[in-house]
Amino acid sequence: MLKVAIVGCGKIADAHASVIQRVEGCEIVGVCDREPLMAKQLQERFPIRKCFGEVGELLSEARPDVVHITTPPASHFEIAKVCLERGCHVYVEKPFTLDADQAQRLVELAEKKGAKLTAGHNNQFSHVARRMRALVESGYLGETPVHMESYYGYDLGDPSYARALLGDQQHWVRRLPGKLLHNIISHGIARIAEFLTCDHQHVIAHGYASPFLNGIGETDIVDELRVMICEEGRTTAYFTFSSQMRPSVHDFRIFGSKNGLLLDQDHEILLRLRGAKFKSYAEYFIPPLLFARQHVGNLLGNARLFLARDFHMDSGMKYLVESFYCSIRDGAPVPIPYRQILLTARIMDAIFDQLRHQLPNRLVAGRSRADLAFQAQPLASKMIEPSSTGVESQSGTMRART
């Protein structure tokens, strides 16, 4: 029986506890929060043996094999470090750390201690994402991906989070290096990082506060972001984060030399985009029919999963947790190769670094479009390179649980 602990008993901890109790062969032996009431409320609602107020106490008394870290991101590194030093395997919620340097140090420590690490990039393990991965691995796209597009929409009207953030100048999200973006975009960036093949990318980022935020006097938060990621002569990618774009999509498109794929996370839809064309007018009639057939296939597939009780909202997290526990128990590879975790962190660093050097948003507020056009700076790009420490043992493509 794998002994599991959760550190941090806020909103996301609920999802972890809910998932862990559905995974066979494990037990939540303890939860921990600096606020004892929060730890207690989680214990009361889930089958949890004990609650603690200090991480050290949790590790000493409950002796967990795996620790899930679900605290605000600023504390991820320190807590993960303590857990790894005690020999625990660690699941760190997204964003993995505050920067790539911290991520690198955690990976090195995990390897040194013979422990395993994973990041909470659970969207990559939803049913539809796994179907997409299987198709890519089967060679459907052709060889190396040519281009990717990752869209990540975020509704600022969502009362559960955005209102708390916008109304609180002391909110922890504001203290992150990338603020709102830092807490959200890793899902969308990790999708791209999974299919990047080099360790050298150019990153060009442009971000700004939307007219909506400017209108309510909020100039510190960047809620519109456009990023271009280029590998030297190989794969390119666009990343779009938007709070204003409707529909607020979570889509991913990947194009190879033969075919493409479109993943719609919100509706759990995967569409194959044929590279070959039909002759003449057939191109206007046959592809719509083929798309219709694919949509029906998606509908039936989702219905089948629902009827089989395998279509939970957090099914991606469940698969990731199961795969991670499997890697611990059976010595299988970790579900997310460390290279991807580090690459995601480095791309995010590059984005936030460029945003810091952009025109400050507060200067943008109140200026006319003409002023802005006149003052627009050429977009600088940043070359990111991996650090020299060896994590090759974990590199490779995303591994599916066997």
Partner: protein, 367 residues
């Protein structure tokens, strides 16, 4: 904001009813959630009763228009401190509780579906306030505004009053608000027992008045373009916001009621069917289907079982616990409120509902 035609500031006899409040009119009173729907009215009620040393705790993002309007309506001798802060901050709580003689704690997590969020914004904040009160040892009363959500409503009789049992397993009701409110009451009672903090709990029913819109869940649920009318012949435990504010104010001030809980409902309550008809006639028409109690109970039972069987593939949003709490046929009492606090509803239900529906209609028109 006051509804035209309905007196916003009802003359209050400051001495006639109670000559023995727990504090004098110079003592400091703290109202948390003072910018909220009920909070503004409580502030005004306190001022009308002659209390003139008030502190209003509000979130930094709160709309202060309501409080500012009250300040304008009252003489300059009145002292109203607006304290902007976060009740999750112990420092903010300590600053707010200094020299406070009576605390009206109205702030809480509402409208959120996440258990940790509502819990944090209701229970942790309440604990912070209680701790801060201990520090200063001046508090004469901690008045907590709770909710009818805390009742399990599984008593044998259809009659619900303050003696009815609270939800023993709020974690199973699938309702974050219910869970947080039960725990919030528990922590107030615990601090009362352990540290002798004098406390009173007020549990309002469905509070209505200008500024609120829509139909309460006790009437039914809108889904896929159709309104499922679940209340049917049930009485809806309405209380007009002004009546509710008066009850809260009295419960915070009257001597000799420490440790008591009071339900707040008005007289002459309409049934769900009557209210729905009024709403459709006054605000807007829409299609609704009455779901008999037997059917709604069965559906809640099936949903609950499916949720368990599928390990939460559908969250347990509907279950028997919720059915009992919201849709079981129930009669309500305000006898304790009238007897112990000498509370009388100032706004007659028929007038209050008429003006409320008018304001809803105006809101619909503007939407």
């Amino acid at each position: 904001m006051p509804v035209p035609g309905f007196p916003s500031s009802i003359p209050v006899s400051t001495d006639a009813i109670h000559d023995s409040f727990v504090i004098s009119r110079d003592d400091r009173i703290l109202v948390t959630g003072a910018a909220g729907f009920i909070g503004v009215r409580v502030v005004e009620e306190l001022l009308d009763r002659g209390f003139h040393n008030l502190a209003c705790f509000v979130r930094p993002s709160s709309d202060l228009a309501g409080i500012e309007a009250i300040v304008k309506r009252h003489p300059q001798s009145v002292r109203i401190d607006i304290l902007k802060g976060n009740l999750l901050s112990r420092a903010d709580c300590e600053a707010a509780c200094k020299d406070v003689a009576v605390m009206f704690h109205l702030a809480g997590g509402t409208g959120e579906k996440s258990f940790p969020d509502v819990f944090m914004n209701s229970v942790v904040t309440t604990r912070n306030l209680l701790e801060a009160c201990l520090r200063y040892a001046r508090l004469q009363r901690f008045l907590l505004v709770s909710s009818f959500a805390v009742y399990s409503n599984r008593q044998k009789s259809q009659y619900l009053d303050e003696s009815c049992p609270l939800e023993a397993h709020p974690e199973l009701r699938g309702d974050a608000y219910c869970f947080a409110k039960v725990k919030q009451e528990q922590i107030v009672v615990d601090y009362g027992e352990k540290f002798g903090i004098p406390h009173v709990v007020v549990r309002p029913g469905s509070v209505y008045g200008a500024g609120k819109r829509g139909l309460v869940g006790r009437v039914g649920l809108g889904t896929f373009g159709l309104f499922l009318h679940l209340g049917g012949p049930n009485t809806i435990p309405f209380t007009h916001v002004d009546n509710c504010a008066a009850a809260i104010t009295l419960a915070g001030l009257v001597k000799g009621i420490d440790g008591e809980a009071f339900n707040v409902v008005d007289d002459d309550l309409p049934t769900s069917r009557q209210f729905l008809r009024l709403y459709k006639n006054s605000v807007r028409h829409f299609r609704s289907v009455y779901v008999p109690h037997m059917v709604s109970y069965s559906l809640c039972y099936l949903w609950e079982k499916y949720s368990q069987w599928s390990a939460g593939q559908l969250p347990p949003a509907f279950n028997r616990g919720r059915w009992y709490a919201q849709w079981r046929k129930t009669r309500y009492s305000n006898e304790k409120l009238k007897t112990m606090l000498n509370w009388k509803p100032r706004a007659a239900t028929v007038d209050g509902l008429r003006l409320y529906l008018q304001s809803c209609a105006q809101g619909e028109g503007h939407a």
